[in-house]
């Protein structure tokens, strides 16, 4: 919402001060200043000129030659790149020597053999709006008696002013008008605020004899006021009105539309005009739409309605307006219109919101209705203002108006407890002080014992409860005046076990040389398939691009894309990890099965590198009983992948990415891969370490090498040795693996170093020999291993 200082002063003449300070005051009221502009200062040297002649440039297509009169009656030739003017048009003209706002100095120039003695200006070039398209034609905007060659500001009757573009929050329907902003600002500055009287002569006829309004659905329409304007001639509005509309960012259209917009901007009341001749009997019926009913709106689009929409229908029940959203094309004002039916209504905000959203049809009017317009005195005032502005242009309204009522919000005074207000804000305001803050912005506040009886004004649809009132008190008291304290009762803070363990995982992986990545969680169609995964990802209903239309079910696609991206930038062997959410389909549930996964991707490395990382995590987290079981898994290398089993439960996979999948992504070399369901791993037992006293007695090492067929895993041999070695076996280390000469195909040698130690005595040779033999027996009898000489 834009406002100008001059317009605000029509309601509070004493508003004054430095524009920056006033802007700060507005921001502190919750009307954040997004932009401030000092207006009405037109560039020196830009004058009013008249187009005398237009002719083609003999040697250029994209420019034409224009003769202008800048007041001396002489034809001054310029070259111009715009073609939107006609002979006789009045335009802004930058004379030679003018320094334009963009710093360019206008000089006499020759363009392809023709002289150019100045510049015809577009609106944007001289700071009149954003319009770059064509020259600004000023024919109906100059003040009466303005002479050619007059400085532009003088010719347009513009005076220096300040405009602020305010961010108005959804809970401030009142601030969607110049008057509403003036009310707030006047209260903050402690200066008076009043509405002028809008009086105008009215015709002898009575509105009630000409038109009627029947509110069939009182929940839709809280109030409907209407009157009639006679002998309307649609022309252009006066320069001052056009200037104000332009200053607030609205394009002047014609006299009736401009008045309509002017009243809406000034007083916050959207309004609508019908060609009375096209409304049979002047009878309006306000009701909900019939399912499937159609209406062609002002923008020429035929729209199909549903029963929740509100419409204004005529006597024959034909919808001629979409309540609070947009008028109908059938009854639109045109050049042939003579009589106008003027509507000021109050529509139920949720109803308007639903229709706007369903039809995706936002407008200045509906924005105000959705926030809750004023259903009180302001409606009558707005009608009076419209009638007055029309009268200034010679259009007279009939006497009186019809004023029908539906259901409006209850404004029975509410009880406001100063103790509650102070308890919420942390203030120590007296009831009187609270009352004064409220009455300064038009609330009613009467003492009621120790409390206040507060009447909420009709322009604050958003405000209902004591808490809402507290915000108004805080606004007027000033947020910056609230004394800062800290809560007394805060308990000891901390991270959860899960969160601490997750940080440990990160720490370990970073120590292992892995860079943490954070791809976006979206996938494109086909991403899951090219990663070898099931195409069952949850899809998004309104993705902006197809690349972001599916939620990932695995961290694999994102990591492969990241590796491919880096390889394409000559960074081959990246080591990445990621901890983030995946979304598994859960058909029985409303929400997907959302889990936190850990992925480690080591480009240029083979499966054992991923296992080494897993073992590092096993150690760091003290994972109990971690086992690997060879398996095939989607997207992973069929013969180099194992299921990770922790305490008997499957928690993910470790190994390598399937070569086909790597090819699909253009990834070079192998990629070692680990993906764990981190939520399950850290949610399960981990980190439990137990103290065993360090033995004071010497240990003995025994080296054993076995020939083991490939069908038996090292883990199985390892397990057998540990079991057989019993409590005396302290450590088992696989220190050599050998395949090749001297060994049959499909058999390898596994060499283990076993360390034996007792907690309470030095082991005897017999004890060591017995333990050694038990280990040999276990490996050889159960796993077809043979002891190497």
């Amino acid at each position: 919402m834009k406002v100008t200082l001059s317009w605000l002063r029509e309601f509070a003449p004493d508003i004054d001060g430095d524009p920056v300070d006033l802007g700060e005051t507005l921001s502190a009221l919750g009307l954040a200043v997004e932009e401030m502009e000092l207006t009405g200062t037109v560039t020196d040297g830009v004058v009013l000129a008249k187009v005398l002649d237009l002719r083609p440039h003999p040697d250029a297509d994209k420019i034409q030659l224009v003769d202008v009169d800048t007041g001396d009656g002489e034809a001054l030739q310029v070259c111009c790149g715009a073609f939107n003017m006609s002979v006789g048009d009045l335009i802004p003209f930058a004379t030679i020597g003018t320094v334009m706002p963009n710093g360019m100095e206008i000089a006499q120039r020759e363009m392809r053999g023709e002289m150019s003695n100045g510049m015809c200006c577009s609106g944007a070039e001289i700071g009149f709006g954003d319009d770059h398209d064509g020259i600004l034609v000023l024919n109906d905007r100059v003040v009466e008696g303005a002479a050619l060659g007059a400085p532009l500001a003088e010719a347009l009757g513009i005076v220096p002013d300040v405009s602020w573009d305010l961010e108005v929050n959804a809970n401030r329907p009142d601030a969607m008008s110049v008057a509403g902003v003036a009310r707030d600002l006047a209260a903050a500055l402690g200066v008076p605020f009043t509405f002028p009287d809008y009086e105008a002569p009215r015709g002898a006829e009575n509105a009630a004899d000409l038109i009627s309004v029947d509110i069939l659905d009182p929940s839709l329409c809280g109030r409907f006021i209407a009157t009639v304007l006679r002998d309307v001639r649609v022309g252009s509005s006066p320069a001052w009105m056009q200037n104000r509309l332009t200053a607030l960012g609205m394009r002047p259209i014609n006299s009736i539309v401009d008045i309509s917009n002017y009243v809406m901007l000034e007083l916050g009341q959207p309004n609508h005009t019908y060609d009375l001749g096209l409304v049979p009997g002047g009878a309006l019926r306000v009701r909900r739409a019939f399912d499937g009913e159609t209406i062609t709106t002002l923008d020429g689009v035929e729209r199909t309605l549903v029963a929740a929409d509100g419409v204004i229908a005529d006597r024959d029940d034909r919808a001629i307006g979409l309540a609070g959203v947009m008028g109908g094309a059938d009854t639109e004002i045109s050049d042939s219109t003579t009589d106008v039916l003027l509507e000021m209504a109050w529509w139920d905000p949720p109803s308007v919101s639903r229709t706007v959203k369903r039809l995706n049809l936002p407008s200045e009017a509906s924005t105000r209705f959705r926030r809750g317009a004023d259903w009180g005195e302001n409606m009558v005032r707005s009608l009076a203002r419209f009638v007055q502005l029309a009268a200034e242009q010679g259009v007279v309204a009939v006497s009186g108006q019809v004023d029908e009522r539906g259901i409006v919000p209850d404004r029975t005074p509410i009880r406001v407890r100063p103790t509650k207000i102070n308890g919420l804000l942390g203030t120590a305001l007296t009831p009187d002080a609270i009352g004064a803050h409220l009455t300064s912005i038009g609330f009613g506040a009467e003492p009621d014992g120790e409390d206040l009886s507060v009447t909420i004004p009709t322009w604050r649809w958003d405000t209902e409860t004591e808490t809402d009132v507290a915000e108004e008190v805080a606004r007027m008291y000033g947020y910056e005046n609230i004394i800062r304290t800290v809560p007394r009762g805060s308990a000891a803070g901390g991270l959860s076990d899960y969160q601490r363990s997750r940080r440990l995982v990160r720490e370990v992986l970073i120590g292992a040389g892995c860079d943490e990545t954070l791809p976006m969680p979206f996938l494109a169609p086909g991403d899951l398939r090219s990663a070898g995964l099931a195409e069952d990802g949850v899809t998004l209903a309104n993705p902006l691009v197809a690349e972001e239309s599916i939620l990932r079910t695995s961290l694999l696609p994102g990591q492969l894309k990241a590796i491919a991206y880096n390889q394409s930038h000559r960074n081959e062997d990246v080591r990445f990890f990621e901890i983030d959410h995946v979304f598994l389909p859960a058909p029985e549930e409303l929400l997907p099965d959302e889990r936190e996964h850990l992925a480690v991707a080591l480009a240029g490395e083979e499966a054992p590198a991923a296992v080494a990382v897993l073992r590092l995590l096993e150690e760091a987290l003290a994972l109990p009983n971690l086992r690997l079981r060879p398996t095939a898994a989607p997207g992973l290398h069929p013969t180099r992948t194992a299921e990770v089993i922790v305490a008997g439960r499957s928690r993910g996979h470790v190994g390598e990415v399937d070569p086909t999948v790597l090819e699909n992504h253009g990834v070079r070399g192998r990629v070692a891969w680990l993906e764990l369901d981190l939520g399950e791993v850290l949610g399960g037992p981990h980190g439990n370490r137990k103290y065993t006293p360090v033995s004071k007695y010497p240990s003995s090492d025994v080296d054993l090498a076995f020939e083991v067929p490939d069908s038996v895993s090292a883990a199985e041999v390892d397990g057998a040795l540990r079991k057989a070695g019993g409590s005396l076996l302290r450590e088992v280390e696989l220190f050599d693996v050998y395949r090749g000469d001297g060994l049959p195909d499909g058999v390898r040698s596994l060499a283990y170093r076993l360390r034996f130690q007792a907690p309470d005595h030095t082991l005897t040779d017999d004890e060591i020999a017995a333990a050694r033999q038990a280990c040999i027996d276990a490996a050889t009898t159960r796993y077809e291993a043979t002891l190497r000489g």
Binding site: R484, L495, D515
Partner: protein, 337 residues
């Protein structure tokens, strides 16, 4: 010198030893000298044995003289030994000299993602202020994302969230959360007050990725529910956090604003070194409807909530010119931090 005549030649020995020590080459030769002049077969050892045969009158003085000579030689040899040992060590160390800039192997540390760094630091500051850290799902229902937060289906504020909806349930019933506030609701539904939490996490909006926007970004949200919590507590808590995170010289201010789930609502700004203000986030006193929706009695409990972007802090701290770097995962970017 009180040596009897028959031992007179002993007086020559110290000079002789000095001469040999001056020319000694290494510790082995020194050991020979030691043995020759102090060993069992040396003249001094022989002289000591002869003392018994000397006139008792002279014996004491002669003995002292022999001992003096011996002590002198021992000292001279010890000094020489120290000198030779030091030289030998020095020679060995010199032989071991390495060019340490020649190393080829290195242990590379990985890097924490910038967002993680910012998030961890925020968590740590709030943990220090007595908060715990809560988390929740990224896919949410309309109840948690909107309705429980006092944003009914028709509310204009819904449009301003630019929500990404998910094809689950009824149309617009399931969505990618548009803020971290659903975690407030989930926490209040399952936890009895007092509640002191922060909830960091990813949030979503239908934004086209460009230099300043991502459709998925990270926020952190704070919630305090306790008896007698005031707006002064809110302002003070934000102040404390900003001092701890940005430094004691940074000032804060609250400006009235609007969020359906807080009343009163505010934006909070922090001061820049040049005195201007930077909008950091939104906050307010938890709306009584929100408390009621979670089964908390607003007459007994009051609280505040606040929230702001995490990614933006990382962008600000390192003055990144393109926020997409945060999701590109380019190692040339990642390894800078």
């Amino acid at each position: 010198m009180s040596l009897p005549a028959e031992m007179a030649e002993l007086e020559q020995i110290p000079a002789e030893v000095d001469a040999r020590l001056a020319a000694v080459a290494d510790l082995d030769e020194l050991a020979e000298i030691d043995s020759a002049y102090l060993g069992k077969k040396s003249a001094l050892t022989a002289a000591k044995k002869q003392l018994g045969r000397i006139d008792p009158e002279q014996r004491k003085a002669a003995g002292r003289a022999v001992n003096e000579i011996r002590a002198g030689i021992e000292a001279a040899i010890a000094v020489t030994r120290d000198r030779l040992s030091a030289a030998a060590r020095a020679a060995q160390l010199e032989a071991e000299r390495l060019d340490l800039t020649e190393t080829r192997e290195r242990i590379r540390r990985g890097s924490y993602h910038l967002v993680t760094q910012a998030r961890d630091r925020l968590e740590d500051v709030f943990v220090g202020m007595g908060f715990t850290v809560a988390e929740g799902p990224e896919v949410e229902t309309a109840w948690y994302n909107f309705e429980a937060l006092n944003i009914p289906e028709w509310h204009p504020a819904r449009g301003s969230f630019d929500t990404i909806f998910v094809n689950l349930g009824e149309p617009e019933q399931v969505m990618l959360r548009s803020h971290t506030s659903p975690v407030q609701i989930r926490t209040m539904e399952t936890t009895e007050p007092p509640i002191y939490i922060v909830a960091p996490g990813r949030t979503f909006r239908t934004d086209t990725a460009d230099a300043t926007h991502l459709p998925a970004f990270n926020q952190i949200e704070g919630l305090v529910i306790d008896r007698g919590i005031t707006m002064g507590d809110l302002a003070g808590t934000i102040d404390s956090f900003v001092h701890a995170f940005f430094g004691g010289e940074v000032k804060t201010r609250l400006r009235p604003s609007y969020f359906p789930f807080t009343e009163p609502s505010a934006e909070f700004d922090i001061s820049r070194p040049d005195g201007s203000w930077l909008e950091l986030g939104g906050c307010g006193m938890v709306h009584p409807n929100v408390l009621r929706n979670c089964g908390i009695d607003p007459d007994e409990w009051q609280g505040f909530a606040f929230g702001f972007g995490i990614d933006r802090l990382a962008v600000m701290r390192y003055q990144l010119d393109d926020i997409r770097e945060l999701v590109n995962n380019d190692v040339r970017f990642l390894r800078q931090f």
